[in-house]
Each structure stands twice: as structure tokens, then as C-alpha cells.
Amino acid sequence: MKMTKVLTQALFNNVKISLAPVILCLLFFGCEPKSDQTSFDSGIKKVGHIVVIYMENHSFDNLYGKFPGADGLSNATRDHITQDSAGTPYKYLPAIPGSSAFPLNMPNDTFNIDQYIHPDKETPDVTHLYYEEQIQINRGQMNKYAAYNDKSFGLTMGSYTTKALPLYPIAMQYTLCDNFFHSAFGGSFLNHHWLIAAASPVYKNPKDTTMYPKRDHYGNLVGGQITRDGFVVNTSYSVNSPRPKPGPYTYTNTDQLIPNQTNPTIGDSLSAHKISWVWYSGGWNDALAGKADPSFQYHHQPFVYYKNYADSTQAKKDHLRDEAEFLSAAKNGKLPSVSFVKPLGTYNEHPGYSTVKAGEDHAVELINAVLNGPNGKDAVIILTYDENGGFWDHVAPPKLDPKWGPGTRVPAIIIGPFAKKGFVDHTQYETLSILTFIEKRWGLKPLNKEDQRAKPLTNAFNF
């Protein structure tokens, strides 16, 4: 029935329509799907290609807070919305110092970013770091996002006009997951590693101790790259190439480079079972050639950090490729069984250097390339966001692992011929659900207990 509700609401919202076709629609779509579990276990074998499009930095409410039928902004309680500063609610959302991008007298509430900053314009970035996100969540109270956002303060409470998003028609057509959380607290670096390995990289006893976090004036641990027990949690660079030039915003000495990692990845599992896979990255070839696009993000390439894909290995050549090859493979029906697609910075939707418009237009292009290509008939496309990027969300994440997460809710859209149509899936998932879905499809063992626990998108398909 949920599917029916979504469709009718959407039709009322978007199309002037007489009553008769609505009734017809109700009759047509009003049937309950068959038992999900039975169809999932056998049906998943029909999936020939899995494509993971990994976008950047938006919470669910930030993009889909007004999606019909989803757990969005209208369900947010005042307790979760009101942002707190050292025990006292802000009178106004804190403004961004030295910037004209954010009003000085915004009520302590959610607001529509489109009224202040158009989605085609880069907003300032929002703080999204390992320790800071845990403080922002504040044991599920969700009220420290503005206080622990020294990049753009009140901007965290903004949301976009859902129906104007370039991906909105696709979310309406297929399955939108509204209870999907990014797996590890913090930013892109850590979540990319969790996407492929369900684990955090390790660097025990680094020589450069400036990489450890510090305590702020409230006594909270903040910043840093490496935890005191040796896990790399915030942006750091690999000993392998490509890596940025040294500098104040990258690394100042080679002791700060992360040594090769040896824990298992999904790539290893797939290769061991001779299942084809590729990590496609926008701007990859240029970066390898030493002429990286200015927006190329070195820390969005997780396999680069692993010994099995280190410089000069055949596996690196075989499995780490340029996004241009993805488009060509999709068009020619030559997609590998599993594709991870990481758009170039300009097109990844990351506030600060990309835009919602540029990123989502690009994502639509990627999706259409698959659906319109020969592999579209048996493909499952999972589009999600590596993390919330510091943007507030009203749903408290489940408390599964106090050290790692999951973090704030992010959007995830399941697309393709097997995905339920016009459906909002309320099942609790997380980034690791993508891993378990891949593992389930090809009968691979979980990498560890973390991906073992995640639900493999069980309710999102009608096989």
C-alpha cells in the first residue's frame, strides 16, 4: 500500500489530474507485493550487474526532507530541530563569519537553502569529521550540528526543494530508502574505506604525532587524523599514487602518509571468485598522469591505500579505471559484474567545490547510460552518499557500534528493472548494506562482523 500512497501523493502534487485516472491508478497499483524474503533470496540471482554510484555529503532531510511518503522534515520534533549552544538554544542560527552567504537573523529552525543559496551555486562546506559528528549527534538528540560546524555554522539546518532536484524523478520512479545511514562517523575518507572493507585503516604509532586529535575547550576530542589507538579516521593520503603535492592542506612530511593496508576488501573477495569488478573514478587517468583536475579528490580512491592495489600491481591496472571507461562500457554492454563509480569533485555534489545541480545532472547521465545500455536489463544501480557532509537530519542513528557508527541518515536510491517502483523503503540499512547485497548476490563470505550485521537491501526489490 505504501507504493500506492507515494504515487497518489506525487500525482496530486505534480499533475493536475481528474479523479477517474487516480482511481484507475489505485486499482492498478493497489496490490501488495509478494513475500519479500522469498522473492529476494532467489530473485537476487537474476541480478547480472551491480553499479554503485557514490555521491558526496548530503543528509536525507537536506535533500529528501519533503519527499512524499518519506520520513522527512514534517516528522521532525522541536527537540531535534532546536540547535543548542553550550546548553542554551541559539536565538538565531549562528551565521558564517566574514561571509555574506548566510543571513544573520535566521530563526533556530530548518530552512530552505534555495531561498538563500541556489542549488547551482556552491555553498560553503559543512564540518564533517570523525569526532565532531559524534558530538553533533549528541547521543541521538541531533542538536549540536550548528555548534560543531566551524565552517558554516547554521547552514547545517538547510534543506533543498526536493521536487526540484535533478534526481527527484528517478527517486519517484524507483525505490528511495529513507532509513539508510552512512556506516562510519565522520567524512569521506573513512566512509569510502567502510564501503569497500567494512573497516577503518590502521596506522599504529605514527612518527608524526600532530596527526592525533586535540581537546577543545569543552574537553571533547576534535580534529586529528589518527585515533590514539591507531585508526586513521579523517582525510589522510596514501604512500601510493596518485596523491597530492605536499602542502599545508594535504601533508607536510612523508611520515604523514598512510602505509599500505592489508585487511580484506570486497575487491579481494570478488577477484578470488573471478567476478569482474572495477572502481571507476572521474579524472583518474589525468591524476595518474600527474595532471590532476583541480577538483580531483585523492582521498576518494580507497583501493589506492591497499597493498593489493599498490603502485605497479596488475590489480591496480585491472580494477582502478577512469569514469570515461564506465560510460563506454555501459553503452556497449561491457560492464563488469560490479562497478563502483566515483564522480570527479566538480560532479560529486560536495558542498564547497561542487553543486547539487552539477552533481545530480551528472548522476542522471550515469544512470541513464546504464539503463539505456545492453546491461540495463539485469542491472541494479545503488546511488547513495558517502556521508551527510555535516548536514543535520532529524532521525537519530541507531546505536550499533559506539566506536564506529553508523552516522547520520543519508539518501539512497535503488534503481533498475528489479527495484520496486514508486516505493519508499523504511527498512533500516546502512552503507554496509551495499557490501552485503554484493556478497549475497555472489555467495561471498562477509569480510567481518560489521558487514555481516547489515541488511542487504532486502525490501527494495520485486524480483
Binding site: 563569519p97 566574514g98 537573523n105 534555495d114 541556489h118 547551482d120 583541480p294 577538483s295
Partner: protein, 597 residues
Amino acid sequence: MKACFFIGLFIIVAGYFLFSCSRRKETPEKTVEQKLLMQIDSFSALTNQCRIEALKPLPDEKRLQHLFKETRLAYKKFEWAAEYFTPAVTRVVNGPPVTEIEMGGQRVINPEGLQVIEGFLFPKYNPSKKDELEKQLQLLQTSCGQYKAYFQNIAIYNWQLFDACKLEAFRIITLGITGFDNPMSLNNINECAVSLQSLQTVLANYEGDGNSDNLVGNLTASVHYLIKSNSFNSFNRAEFITSYGNKITTGITRLQKKIKLPVVKYNRLLNQDAETIFNSNAFNINAFGPGLPYLATGQRIALGRKLFFDPVLSGNQTRTCSSCHQPDKAFTDGLTKNMAVNGKQQLKRNTPGLINAALQPFQFYDERVNTLEEQVENVVQNKDEMHGSLQKSAGKLWGEKTYRFLFSEAYPKTGRSGIDPFEIMNALSSYVRSLTFLNSRFDDYMRGDKSAMSVSEINGFNLFMGKARCGTCHYMPLFNGALPPDYIKMDAEVIGVPGNKHSKLIDTDKGRFNILNFPTLKYAFKTPTLRNAALTAPYMHNGVFSNLEEVIDFYNKGGGAGLGIKIDNQTLSPDKLHLTKKETGELIAFIKTLNSN
């Protein structure tokens, strides 16, 4: 019974119609949104006509140029909304025809849109650019779709509408009348008229709400004035601003107050409540500062002034800020380049002035920092300039009773046990922020004192904003490179300054390229303010020109490229300006009116 039924039915039907009619009455904002959509359609249709003509095997040059002018006019009808609500799409439509580098080099924006197209069509149609022309026209069509997607989905608030209209009026006064965005077709006077006509249509929706300042009447009169004076060179810009432009921005501000629209406040350099761009309080000296906890208070300014003249910040305790920034020389030093602190060699660049430095979103000739605080840190710790340490100075100052008291008073905090180096940076910056003087004879004139400038000086102003093209980079009224009306971007221009006065070789300093390694930024330098320029000779980043006559002569000949210096990325037109001796004199006379009182 039957009659009752029909009467009942009649009441229901009549009630329904009455109800639906009353619902049909739209808010002014909704009317404006619909008008915008129609204007975008017209713009789209004209770009399509241009495209059809451009695609012909032998396009008609005159028709293409005519269609281009019409297309620009169609854009100008909704520029007020396009710039305000959809700035990134608008950059594609009417952005500058040069590559822009943003986000510390992470974002490169290639030149696109109407200004690029203008270069293909004027002064003559360039057939070799046919493919590029078609691509650009195609981009305009795509942009129309993006405009429509926005205005169809996002509701406009009334306060936004007023804000946007006022910013457009400022845009016309500061940029539109200079031919800033159509330097080849020079149809700018007509374009300004079209833009103002649109503001009139929008604001007329609120006329009945208490428009006693005759805003709509002033808009009508200004449109007539523009249409009547349609000539780029002879257009009297001073008269237009004082008799029309200022009245329009004042009218919008007052009407907004009168009808009690909500005020959403932004931290802007140009204060939202400024009635004209020339008001003494129009600019906010704290806009580019570190925020509320670090506003320039009287105590901080006084402390900063004391530090400014104290050698305590230099490594060898011999140099003060005032060693180079001398108050009696408008905070410059009169030298080509000052000496390094070791006294052995010259510094790399000419000493810039500090008056109105707070009104710039970037500091240094190469724009390497955003705030005055960072500027202070850079200079104090630069081994050639002061070779000091803010950390060590903080320790030393804490040991002195007077400074300890002054810092404690200026930055009150409980349990203070020392001085934060940032407080030194902020105190000095507060002092520099206090050196904001918009009180020249030019300002007096623009505020209504007609006797403040002579005829020759007014002629100079009109040349500055017109034929001499100075105002297309040194934007009035700050006369620096901060782009009005948002003042977020600041131009870095390549003008081809020679190494010495008679050299045909460019100065070796690569400017902004040293900070951001992009070829287009080679030899690019920040556009400095011309306020007090008459007091700050010698000129340019290397101090190569001794007086204003030499500077104007350089521009009159088309900058470095015009002088035959080999340079492939000059952003200044290499064409000669053809200024007469009299005109040069008038220009200099005008520049002298910019001296602070």
C-alpha cells in the same frame, strides 16, 4: 421541493465560482514569477533566432549583430532576478569573458555566454568561430531551462524581490552605465533602460502600498533620460546618478520600510539599509572580519594604533608598520620599493596604501589572503618585511604593564594568563578598519553638494566611467576591483606592466600565478583602489610609473600589449583609448577629487 433543490444548487455553484474567483487573485510575487517565465521564454526564442542565423552557410553579419543586441536586451529584462536567485547559471549566461579560478584553485570556470559571443560578432563577425558560436548559443538555451526550473519550483518572497531590485539598481549605477559587460557592442545605455523598466514593472505591484516617494515615477523618468541620451561617450553619468540613480535606490529602501517587509539581514559589505551607495554608512568595515567576537571596537582600534607605531612586532625591534605605511603619505612610503628589514635589498613590491583596505575581500597584490588579520600575520612574520614572531611578541607584550592592561580591556576574558597572537592580529586589523574614509569631494558631490566638483572634474568622472574605460575595473564608488554590488569577488587583471618605464619587457613578477599555478593568472595583480591615488605615487605593483600622467598614458596606449610588450593573456584591451591631452587632464583632475578629507 424541486425549487428548494435548484436554489440550493444555485447557491453551491455560485459559491464555488465566487470562491474560485477570489482564489485566483494572485500575490505580486506570483505575478512577478509568471512574468519572469515569459521573459525567459523570450530570451530563449531570441537565442534560437541567433542560432538559426549563425548556422546559415553565410550568416548575415548585420542581422547577427542586431539579433545579439536584442538577445542581450531580453536578458537584461530579467537580470535583476537572474543575478540574485540563480547566480551560477547567470555566470554561464553573462559571466566575464575570462577564465576564473575559485575555491583555492579547486574550481576552474571557463569563459562562457553573451560576453564571449560578443567577441565573435563585434566589431566584425568572425567566421572562424562559427562552431564555438553555436556551442555558446546552445549553452544559453540550456541555461534557459535551468532558469525556468528554478522559477517554476522556488517561491519568491517579497523581501527578496525588493533586495534583488535594489541590488540591480546598484548594479546599473556602478557597472551598467560603464559598458562593463558589453564593451564591444556598447549598447549599455539601452540595456540600462530595459533593466530599469523591468524594476518599474515589478515595484509597481507595490505602489498602492504606500509609495509616497514616487519610486515608479522616478523609474519612468530615469528610463526616459536614458533613452533620450543614448550615446556611450556623451552620456552624462554624473547627472544620471545624482538626479535619477540615487533617487531610485532611496525609493526602494524607503518603500520596503514603509510597507514593513520582513528584513532578513545578511553580512554584506554594502549595508542593506543604505539608501544610496554614497551614504556615509553604506559600507560595513567589519564585513570581511572574523565575526561578532572580533568587531573593531574603540578599545581595539586604540590598541591597534599603538601597536602600529611600536617596533615591538619586528624581529630586530627597529621597524614599525608605519615605517612603510606612513600616515602623511596616505599610508604608503613614496618609494618605488622599500628596503628589506636587513637593509640589504629592496622588497619585492611597492607599498600599498591602507586607507579603505578593509573594504577589500582579498589582501596583497597577489590576493593571497582574505582577511586583514592574515595580512598582518603575513607581514609581521615575513623575513624581508618585519621578520618577527607574533608568538614571541605576545609574550613580550604580556610582560609590559600598559599592554597587559590594554589587551585585557580590549578583549575581556576571565582567567586571562597571556595574550593570544590572534588578538594582536585583530587589534592591528581593527586599526586598519578604522582607516575607512569615504569623505572625499567626490563623495560630497554624489551626496548632493553640486559645488564640490568643478566642471572639468565632472567631465573627468564621465570619462572615467565612459570613454577611458577606467570604471570597468576600478568600480565606483570604492574604485577598487571588488565587484559590486556583492563585493565578494575581486578582480586580478593582467595589464602588462613593464619592468622599467622604457622597457618592452614585462616585469618578471608573475603575481597571482605564484599563488595559484594557472597560466591565465600569469602576471595578474589585484586592482587597487584609486581613492587617494594622487597621494600614493609611484604606481603599479613595482612602482614603475612616477606620476598619474604616466599611468594614464600607459592605459591610453592599450597597456603592455598596446605598447608592444609580448604577452598572451592580457585582460585589458590592447586598443588605444584615443584620449586627448585635455581629457587626460580632466581624468587626473577627477582622480584628485578622490583624496580623503
